[in-house]
Amino acid sequence: MNCEVCQLKELEVEHFEIREVLRCILHTILFHRALGLVRPKDVDLELFEITYVQCGDMELERKIDEKIDQFIDRVEKHPNKKNQICLSFYEVKNKHATWFTNKVERLFWEHWYINLNVMQHPKTPSGKSHHSKLVVDPGVEARGARRAALEASLRDVLFQIIKFVNEKKDHVPSIPNVEGIPFPYEITISSSSDSAFGMDMFKRMLQTGHPTMLS
């Protein structure tokens, strides 16, 4: 089975926009992969005029929020870096446990890479605090333009997901008769400057065989 990889379009976001953007993207992907019975829930973004769909699974929502919190913490610890969240779906193979190991082999069949470039606000000098409020503030119009551009980019990302889901269907495993998400998944966080970043990718390549890179 091939492992399909989808590199989503990079988004430039501000710190306070991370949560909403990641929620929207992750839930959209999972809605398309939760091929068990779901009760869709429409969610309106507060910062953008976009409505996305959730699976209606509270446990899933909690897990995603946890990962987003971890991502935000990582962003704060590693500023000025491009950060990436990877949502991967896998199948569990060879569940047998040995005497010394309890290794469960995961066979990844899909990777989604969400690339975020978190903008950092310039720190204002203490002596010019009064002026900085006037200068640093990009203005309502500039902020609005940036917000509109981000909304358009986010919408493009969502359409990119929809298109990818419909173009690549053959690698999706058979759907078990369960509710919610029938496929196990994992969410990993990495940064561009991490030495482990490339290693993570290399490991996955080894596990999955011959991935097909799609941009």
């Binding site: 809605f31 398309h32 091929l35 019975l37 429409d42 769909v53 919408r155 419909n166 759907i175």
Partner: protein
């Protein structure tokens, strides 16, 4: 293609059945997010239930085996539990002749004309007609329900679901095959159809028309546009100009062993700018029937005071509702056609007990067009009801109303100063600055009383109930007694309290002594001896026209600020106080008065007045 007219189920029957369900599923997903008043056809769900779907172990199980019991069987297809549509149009139905006929769903933006009357509308049933076998379904927009004219229609979205059979469609093997594997089994097709419908479900919410839909179903305002739809097999193609403004999104086709299912949408993205204009609220209209309306509730009327219907002050309800009288003065009876933001401001200034008498404009939309009761059909009465917009700025000049001898007391009580609070306050100050001898002309002495009442009430002439009118009548008599020295208090404190506050009106907290003390209690300077005769004449006239006091009228008021309890019944004794030298009894009041009796009373009033004046002097000294 022609061969399929006689054979509607080509290829594997299971695949054809899945394709049929996919058509229905697409229609459902599209309509539930575009048309607020559409419900899914019932008979199509029966088709789904009867579909025999194979159930191998690794395949998606058919709907009947799904665990959720709260979801209809229809909803379990494609593992997507749809929510119900909010409303349903009658006569919804469609016939799917063949999978080979495309299903084209047009989402239409319908703009209403501006001239439509919500109050007088009669709901009309929406219609749906099946024009031909080719046209599956046609539904009118919701405009018909409101009796509005459709100004314009524009297709803002066009969804096309088409299944091309391999035998009929000749799209080239290279284009058709590409890298996509063909669904050779129904299970595989079902799995891919799940993915397709999930994508469709997400896509309909990303397009601009969804925002319009949400605005329509969420907003309580009635907008000048609506969404309609049309389902058909054949439509006129868009012009090149229209296509230039439209964007398209084509779902990757779903290949089967028998054909290919294509789903695409063409939509306007610029339409949103037109739709997002703020809708103007419907102009407020006067509602004559509401809870507590005097039209609805029969009011007690003072039979001794005949009223004419020639002027607002002489309306049958004018005496009881001095507040309404005040509002007559503020604005004429015409309804303001334009949106009136001042209405809300005016409402805010109204007392709480009166707010229910003027429901907000938005509620008026929901009031059915009922025939008012007969007594409310009095045209004279209607003109007396104030327009919803009244503000201090719109109040007329403080000219006294037309004199009506029958309602002289009312006019005397309220006079021309019974304007909204702001106005009355402004008017009070110049009055206070006027020389005192000008403050108490003969007739407006009652007017000053009304002034004071307006001020202390804080509502400036807006009085809630008819019992207040009774109080004012009673106080009119009391005032007459005071001026002539009839009313006497046992001690100076009560005199002070009387001078300080018109407590008999139960408006005491906000009373400003400095402004009213001079108005209520005339000093000796104000009332020289020579002015007693005109006062007496006016007083006599007032008494002659005053209605008889009824002992059974109950009010809640504090006549004095001293330790005397709240007087719940009007009786002459309570009004005049225990020290009154003149005893009124209900029998005396009710008995017919002769001129001699009147003069006798006048003399007694005069004595009381002198006594009060003396007491005032003594207090001030």
């Amino acid at each position: 293609m022609a061969s399929y007219h006689g054979n509607t189920r080509s290829g594997a029957p299971e695949i054809e059945q899945i394709i049929t369900v996919i058509f229905a599923g697409c229609l459902h997903i599209i309509l539930e997010s575009r048309c607020p008043y559409v419900s899914f056809p019932k008979h199509s769900s029966e088709q789904i239930l009867s579909f025999p779907f194979p159930s191998p172990s690794s395949s998606p199980s058919p709907p009947s085996s799904c665990s959720s019991s709260s979801i209809g069987l229809r909803d379990k297809w494609f593992k997507l539990a749809h929510r119900d549509c909010p409303a349903a149009l009658e006569n919804i139905g469609f016939s799917h002749q063949s999978n080979l006929e495309p299903m084209i769903v047009d989402v239409i933006l319908v703009k209403r004309s501006g001239n439509w009357d919500l109050v007088n509308y009669s709901p009309k049933r929406g219609y749906a007609r099946n024009l031909s076998g080719k046209e599956w379904y046609r539904c009118s927009s919701e405009n018909d329900e409101f009796g509005c004219e459709i100004e314009s229609e524009k297709i803002i979205e066009r969804w096309v679901v088409q299944y091309e059979s391999k035998q009929s469609g000749d799209n080239g093997g290279g284009v058709m095959g590409s890298n996509r594997a063909t669904c050779k089994s129904s299970h595989e097709l079902y799995k891919k159809s799940i993915l397709l419908l999930r994508s469709l479900y997400a896509t309909v919410r990303l397009l601009p028309a969804y925002k319009v839909f949400r605005d329509l179903i969420s907003s309580a305002q009635i907008r000048a546009y609506n969404l309609g739809h049309r389902v058909s097999s054949f439509v006129e193609p868009f012009t090149s100009r229209e296509e230039a403004d439209m964007q398209s999104f084509v779902f990757p086709p779903l290949d089967t062993s028998c054909g290919r299912l294509c789903l695409s949408v063409v939509y306007f993205s610029s339409e949103l700018d037109i739709i997002s204009e703020p809708s103007t609220p419907i102009s407020p209209q006067v509602i004559h029937e509401y809870v507590g309306s005097p039209m609805v509730e029969p009011l007690k009327r003072f039979t001794a005071v005949p009223v004419s219907q020639c002027s607002p002050s002489s309306s049958p309800f004018g005496r009881r509702h001095s507040w309404s009288y005040d509002l007559y003065r503020v604005s004429p009876s015409s309804v303001n056609p334009s949106p009136s933001p001042t209405y809300s401001e005016s409402c805010a200034s109204m007392p709480k007990q009166l707010s229910h008498r003027f429901p907000p404009a938005s509620l008026r939309h929901h009031i059915p067009n009922e025939t008012p009761p007969a007594h409310m059909k009095d045209p004279n009465f209607h003109e007396y009801w104030p327009s919803p917009t009244f503000s201090p700025s719109s109040s007329p000049s403080p000219s006294p109303p037309a004199y009506n001898p029958d309602s002289h007391i009312l006019k005397a009580l309220f006079g021309s100063e019974s304007a909204p609070f702001g106005l009355s306050v402004s008017r009070l100050s110049p009055l206070a600055s006027m020389p005192k001898n000008q403050l108490l002309p003969p007739s407006p002495s009652m007017g000053t009383c009304g002034h004071r009442v307006a001020k202390t009430d804080g509502y400036a002439g807006l009085y809630p109930t008819g019992s207040m009118v009774d109080k004012l009548f009673a106080s009119a008599k009391e005032e007459a007694g005071k001026l002539s020295g009839v009313k006497q208090s046992s001690n100076s404190s009560s005199m002070k309290s009387f001078s300080r506050s018109p407590s008999r009106f139960s408006f005491q907290d906000n009373f400003d002594d400095s402004e009213f003390s001079g108005l209520l209690i005339p000093d000796d300077d104000d009332l020289p001896e020579s002015s007693t005769r005109p006062d007496a004449a006016a007083l006599f006239h007032l008494l002659e026209k005053a209605p008889p006091l009824r002992p059974d009228i109950s009010i809640t008021t504090n006549l004095v600020q001293d330790s005397k309890p709240v007087i719940e019944e009007i009786s002459p004794e309570s009004l005049l106080g225990e020290s009154a030298s003149l005893n009124f009894s209900s029998s005396e009041i009710e008995s017919s008065k002769t001129t001699a009796d009147a003069f006798t009373e006048l003399v007694e009033y005069k004595k009381m007045k002198e006594l009060l004046l003396k007491q005032c002097k003594g207090t001030q000294a």
